[in-house]
């Protein structure tokens, strides 16, 4: 089924040491996960389930307490341009305009100016920001900022794209459009994507596979293949198969949310 494995998460756990004499916090139980090339994985869980921690470990921004993450047979030791990341908070560099933000990684990697310009131009088109190249981040809406952030991560041509609740702060309509945009890019570029979210509909709509995580300490509870055909149109959200999946995931998540609320 998955002949080409791109990422292996092997026995990864994360314990945050207790601050000022308090108990250490087990954010993530030992977790194993194998991700195939070109998969679109969404990691779904209530807040505080360690899903962001897991993503940050894959990004190399956090180190696991046990285990390791292997990307293309290389163990991850720190952050790098082979794993593009889009954060929940708006992390465009406020002193750079849209085009300069997208070119940031290319410049850091010493890509020649004319080649960089053509890559930037290509991604500005893909995320629909033509005409906004010279705008500063503060002049953009939240959705446009996140589109720029996606373009900035993709311009580096990463092996894998990591997104940490990137649309969490957007209004519902914008969020829907952003999901379609990201899905469209994935369908045409066939990148491997790991997308963290707490929104069930969002998780099903885009994913080839939904990973459901439990409340703290975080652990994988379910691994569900989503067999809805691509290209997916937003109307799929009202299809009966979609509703069945949604009902099932709602049950899985609800139990966890209740536990999380009691903790």
């Amino acid at each position: 089924m998955k002949p080409d494995v791109i990422l292996r998460i092997e026995g990864v756990s994360r314990i945050f040491p207790g601050v000022s004499g308090r108990q250490p916090v087990r954010a993530l139980e030992q977790t194993d996960l194998t991700i195939g090339r070109n998969e679109f994985i969404t990691i779904l869980g209530p807040s505080g389930c360690g899903k962001s921690t897991l993503l940050r470990i894959v990004a190399g921004l956090d180190m696991p307490s046990t285990g390791r993450v292997v990307l293309d047979k290389k163990a991850i030791t720190g952050p790098g341009p082979d794993r593009g990341m889009v954060f929940q908070s708006y992390t465009l560099f406020p002193w750079l305009n849209v085009a300069e933000n997208i070119a940031f990684g290319l410049r850091e990697r010493g890509i020649a100016k004319d080649q960089s310009n053509s890559i930037v131009s290509e991604y500005i088109n893909k995320v629909g920001l033509r005409g906004f190249e010279n705008h500063l981040p503060k002049q953009l809406s939240g959705g446009m900022q996140q589109r720029t952030a996606i373009a900035r991560a993709l311009a580096n041509n990463p092996e894998i794209l990591l997104l940490d609740e990137p649309f969490g702060a957007l209004d519902n309509q914008t969020r829907g459009l952003m999901q379609e945009l990201l899905l469209g890019i994935w369908e045409s570029e066939r990148k491997t994507v790991i997308f963290v979210t707490h929104d069930i509909e969002e998780a099903i709509f885009m994913a080839t596979r939904v990973i459901v995580m439990t409340a703290r300490p975080g652990k994988i509870k379910a691994d569900i293949q989503i067999d809805l055909p691509y290209p997916r149109h937003y109307t799929v959200k009202t299809a009966p198969e979609f509703s069945t999946l949604k009902a099932r995931l709602t049950e899985e998540i609800r139990a966890e949310a209740v536990l999380a609320a009691q903790a």
Binding site: G60, G80, M85, T91, F104, R152, N156
Partner: protein
């Protein structure tokens, strides 16, 4: 009563008008106290005498040279302090071992009163220009380091993390994230510290100096020329205002991304 609602903005015209009217009020009260005979002329000159004395200073006693000397000293000492202090501040903010190494000493040194160094500096460097520059340097150097290191250390972590995921090296993060992100704060710090330097230069010039605004002030004291003293003080105020305005214009031009 929209006028007195808390945090309610005022129109630009009203702002300028209100700002000017306080100056007018200030001078009016001063004129009333002196010209009205409530305060002895020996202790406080009236505004008209002040203007007259000032005109005399500029036309007959070469006060313009004194002003130029003072400005030169402040800028000289301040620029040297900035050229050395800004990079050290950035390194201290960026690298925790550097911070651990230097921070305790810099925190201590910044409380050493620059003016108290004047006698010592005269012994070391004589009463020439070096001594004046050193007073300004000591007064501003440690402040610059400390304030800048704090702003660099408080750079948004998510911007730094974003840079790493885009392939930045450690040096790349310092040069292309920490420095541009803090450039407006660095400029603001320099503006603030330059303001303090004007105080130090006068202290340096009060003792063992043969030129400068501070020198003129101490000479005028011997002559009981309060009009000249006040004129000297006001000149410093005006120069400070101009340098402040210059900094603000530069900031607005280069750091417009920071403005809302």
């Amino acid at each position: 009563m929209a006028f007195f609602r808390p945090l309610e903005p005022v129109s630009p015209q009203a702002r300028i008008l209100l700002g000017i009217s306080f100056f007018v009020l200030f001078f009016a009260l001063w004129a009333l106290a002196t010209l009205g005979g409530y305060v002895s002329k020996t202790f406080l000159a009236d505004p008209l005498t002040m203007v007259q004395d000032g005109w005399q200073l500029l036309t007959k006693f070469g006060f313009a040279h004194d002003i130029a000397m003072t400005v030169w000293r402040v800028l000289g000492g301040f620029i040297v302090a900035g050229l050395i202090g800004v990079p050290i501040g950035i390194l201290m903010g960026a690298y925790k071992p550097v911070e651990a190494f230097l921070e305790p000493f810099v925190s201590f040194a910044r409380y050493l009163p620059a003016s108290a160094f004047v006698p010592l500096l005269i012994l070391w460097a004589g009463i020439g220009e070096t001594q004046k520059l050193l007073v300004i340097f000591i007064g501003s150097f440690f402040q610059i380091i400390l304030i800048i290191s704090v702003s660099v250390a408080n750079t948004r972590r998510d911007l730094v993390e974003a840079a790493y995921t885009l392939g930045s090296s450690n040096t790349g993060v310092v040069l292309r994230v920490l420095i541009p992100a803090n450039a407006p704060d660095i400029a603001e710090t320099l503006r603030l510290v330059l303001g303090w330097s004007w105080t130090y230069v006068i202290v340096a010039e009060l003792i063992g100096s043969s030129s400068g605004i501070g020198h003129m002030i101490i000479e005028s004291q011997a002559l009981l020329a309060t009009g000249q003293i006040i004129f000297g003080i006001i000149v410093i105020g005006i120069i400070g205002l101009i340098s402040d305005l210059g900094f603000k214009l530069i900031n607005r031009h280069y750091f417009s991304w920071r403005l809302a």
